[in-house]
Symmetry: C2
Subunit: 240 residues, 2 copies
Amino acid sequence: MDEDQSLTTALRDLSPAPRTSLADEVLDRLRQEIVRGRFRPGHRLSESMLAEAFGVSRGPVREALAQLQQEGLVKVERHRGARVNRISAEDVGELYELRIDLERFAVKRAVQLVTDGELARMEEVVSAYADAVERDAVQEAVDLDMEFHGLIYKAARHTRLYSCWTNLLRSQIHAFVLSNSLADSSYMAPCVSEHSKIRGALEARDRERAAELVDDHLRGAYERLVRTSFEGKQAGKMRR
Amino acid sequence: MDEDQSLTTALRDLSPAPRTSLADEVLDRLRQEIVRGRFRPGHRLSESMLAEAFGVSRGPVREALAQLQQEGLVKVERHRGARVNRISAEDVGELYELRIDLERFAVKRAVQLVTDGELARMEEVVSAYADAVERDAVQEAVDLDMEFHGLIYKAARHTRLYSCWTNLLRSQIHAFVLSNSLADSSYMAPCVSEHSKIRGALEARDRERAAELVDDHLRGAYERLVRTSFEGKQAGKMRR
DNA sequence: TAACGGTAAGTTGTTAACAACTTACTGATT
DNA sequence: AATCAGTAAGTTGTTAACAACTTACCGTTA
């Protein structure tokens, strides 16, 4: 039916967000506050204080804190409350060792499954990233960095793999990369062309090259991160 | 001080569980009920019904359901409640594809980090597993299977990797392997010697052999699982 | 007959109050 | 001075009640 067709087409453009729960809103805002460094590591996150600040009751706040613990941004101790996690050199080592393994896995699947729309979006993100780096818009650039890598995971069409990224890796990596980039703005420059090359390998459906590029990109990024954030400490070279 | 020494030694043996939260108790019991098949896929899990059944209020039940969703055992939909997940052929494919990658990763680390105590415990578990298989004690055997693989992840000393196992893989795999083994008791027999060989490679600190054995073990197990549970459907061979 | 509006039952989302626990402080005791 | 019991303040864990939403049912209308 023609009527139906136009109706569903119209509806598709409408109503992107049907209305979310308070817990989700609190979760998103709180995650952003922590990632952007407005709550420092060690800072106590009292449920009642947060509830008042966000204008909700403690229930949704509790839910959000539980999820943020899963993401590694906070630590909740029974009867002792939640604190913002400090990300140690060991944490970064674990995060990147696992990330390299999973993102190689992801990009190899993505080579075969990525859609034209996703490749187009990646190109947009790479361009916007280059522009943000140029303008020294650090926060914006890191957001785009995260989106680029998220697109790779998403293109892999593997729900559990994607969940590893969003629930286990992303938030802590986001927080750490941002704080590092604010301290050392030279971190991001090499990433621009590397992202572009990874996208190119995906478009060319070159599986081995894509995996190799992701590997090199992440190892290089890891090296730069630990060099500026943990120099002096035994930074621990990662084994191949 | 000698007094202190003996005191701490005594305390270490005491109080293994200082008292847990209601949410955790509900979580453990509910997970067990689902894994053991007392709640079938599609079964609605109403918060108030569960609260009454466990003798607690809805709060702890809600927390438990959120965690079980993370583990993949239930699906919670906003304002529509929770249902027990059905594990599809695609789910098993995803689970094992990711599991093979992660468990290879885990065992390669474990080769270098496993302790004598852990090797000893593995030997116990392998023996008990063989015995349970012999006695056709299926449920007990599958519990021990899960413990064996959990020990590998634990020995890898990688908190996020271990979290992948406990939060993302274990519960669904446990549920599926148990239901499969109850239907086809021949599934488990080959695992006994394979477990033993993996333990042997760990003890011998033979990294490549351990990884290869884990790979073969899991691919073989996957083949047997899909053969009996999804024969007819396009089971999808896993790429190497 | 099929589509529509209204309503009732039952569910989840959220709140506010109470119970249990942790922590820091105070003052007595050795 | 150091240790310890007692206590008070503040936190989280849990509960029960209320609000918002989903769903199914039922009679009406075209």
